[in-house]
């Protein structure tokens, strides 16, 4: 039973969800409220990871993280090693890969907030930022939670991208999905089954708890 891999996957998913919350909310707010005519380009870029095969994304990330690319060299100079084969590298890869799973539900929730409420807040002298915090966020809680849960679940099950940039290092980049794959490759079907079922159980419980707690809906 590869508890280490499971713990690593949960840790990765939690970190990525937390970061996507901080990074995804401003992006989603901009998408929901901007009237720039080229906004659709930003929306398309955010949605790209949905259609890119994870291995393609992983491959390009591997190249970008390597010492031959300007970004890779920057990181190398700052930290003495490349981003690849590290947990931080996985976090970055997962952020890109799971971005639309956070941003799209966030943006949809923000858009669904009655425009008049935002107008009312403005006429009462409350700044846009405060309006966001006091009106939009509370009324978007369902969508925000959905976005967090989706990015958590999506990262938990991630395989292709981790495969490409992870390097399968136990305790560092050997996530549970890689572990299950290894077991299958080694014809260790019994062990693979065990891990897979445990992953399924944990995911199901997490999702159920979140959806149960998130049943409140604002009426009017």
């Amino acid at each position: 039973m590869s508890w280490q891999a499971l713990a690593l996957s949960v840790k990765l998913a939690a970190i990525v969800s937390a970061v996507l919350f901080v990074v995804g909310m401003p992006i989603a707010y901009w998408i929901a409220s901007s009237r720039w005519r080229w906004r659709f380009l930003v929306e398309a870029v955010v949605a790209l990871p949905l259609v890119l095969p994870p291995t393609v994304l992983g491959f390009y990330l591997l190249v970008a993280m390597g010492p031959r690319s300007p970004l890779g060299r920057l990181w190398l100079r700052a930290f003495g090693h490349t981003l690849s084969f590290t947990l931080e590298g996985l976090v970055l890869a997962s952020l890109l890969y799971s971005l639309p799973f956070a941003v799209q539900p966030f943006a949809a929730a923000f858009r669904s907030v009655d425009r008049q409420l935002v107008n009312a807040s403005a006429t009462l002298g409350v700044s846009r930022l405060r309006t966001f915090a006091r009106v939009i966020v509370p009324l978007s809680s369902a969508g925000i939670i959905t976005g967090l849960v989706l990015s958590f679940a999506h990262t938990l099950g991630e395989f292709g991208v981790v495969l490409m940039v992870g390097g399968n290092i136990p305790g560092v980049t050997r996530t549970v999905s890689i572990d299950i794959y290894d077991q299958v490759q080694s014809l260790n079907y019994a062990a693979a089954n065990q891990t897979a079922l445990l992953l399924l159980a944990i995911s199901f419980i997490t999702l159920s708890v979140v959806y149960a707690v998130n049943r409140k809906v604002w009426v009017l």
Binding site: N119, S121, T123, L124, G125, V126, R130, P138, L220
Partner: protein
Amino acid sequence: MKVGTDGDAEAPAGNRALSVHIQKGFPGGFELAAELEAPAGITILFGRSGSGKTTILGCVAGLLAPDAGRIAVGSRVLFDHAQRLNVPVVRRNVGYVFQDLALFPHLTAEQNVAYGLGRLAAGERQHQVQAMLEQFRIAHLAGRKPAELSGGERQRVALARSLVIEPQVLLLDEPLAALDLPTQSQLIADLRRWNREHQIPILYVTHSQREVFALGERVVVLDAGKVLAQGTPQQVLRAPLQETVAQLAGFENIFDARVIALHPPHGTMTCRLEGSSVELEVPLAKAVVGEAARIAVNAGDILMAVERPRGLSARNVLAGRLVGLEQEGITVHARVDCGVVFQVKLTPTARESLALAVGREVWLVIKTYSCHLLESEPG
């Protein structure tokens, strides 16, 4: 203490009038070109839906930007296209009660009212909120969410929320539309009391004549983006000069007529209604015999009798037959065929005491001064 107006000069007490001169075009062809002055007190914006009333409110609040023009409260300019000045919404200090109220559903009544007072110290804020809640008789509902309040209670919360920030202008968009009559009356009373105490320009949008006469000190009539008339309710609605205003003001009876005789010494002239032999004596106007005219009579200005009346001052007594009788709320709408069909408004009491029924022979009495000659409109 004025909240939310950093650095803006307070308008001198003597001149706090709202001045609006704006143009705004919309895709699809609608053009708004409005010029109006609203002194302290209640100014009604009256017109059909789509005439631009809500657009004007949006421009004054700063939620919409006009294409050109100027908006000012006293000496404080909120918008001036020529000078590229456009004060952002959050700094205009304009209270706005939206048509659907826009109460924050996740906050209690008290939190809604306190919402705009974020910059005050907690104690001061609490004090002002409490005072406002009491003034609008909703203090006992402080802890309830909007979903738990009735229509009238929500309306009062919305008003309290906008007024607690001590705005320089108040905008109201059909505030009484969804309420029953007793609640409407109560709210009208609340508003008038507040108005007496504070005296700021209030723009009040409605398409109800009742509200015009109950509240308005001034009325501005709008149609298709243009101001048709401004003045007191009496001037504008009781004696409309323009047909559109007449229609808006509920003059149900508008007829084509031809001048057949002039009586200068009496100050009247006689017109025959087209397509009939009905003749009405109307106030004298600059006209020649044979000229066409449009005559408007308010249904509420016509008297009905079940016997031929005698000894009346009124010059127009017409015999006719009752061809329609409908009750709508507290108004009875009757239709009487005198050669042309007149609409007459009666009370239910009248209907009962006269034992009116369709087919009955009746007489209509119309004063000369109840007949309004409408200006011929261009085009």
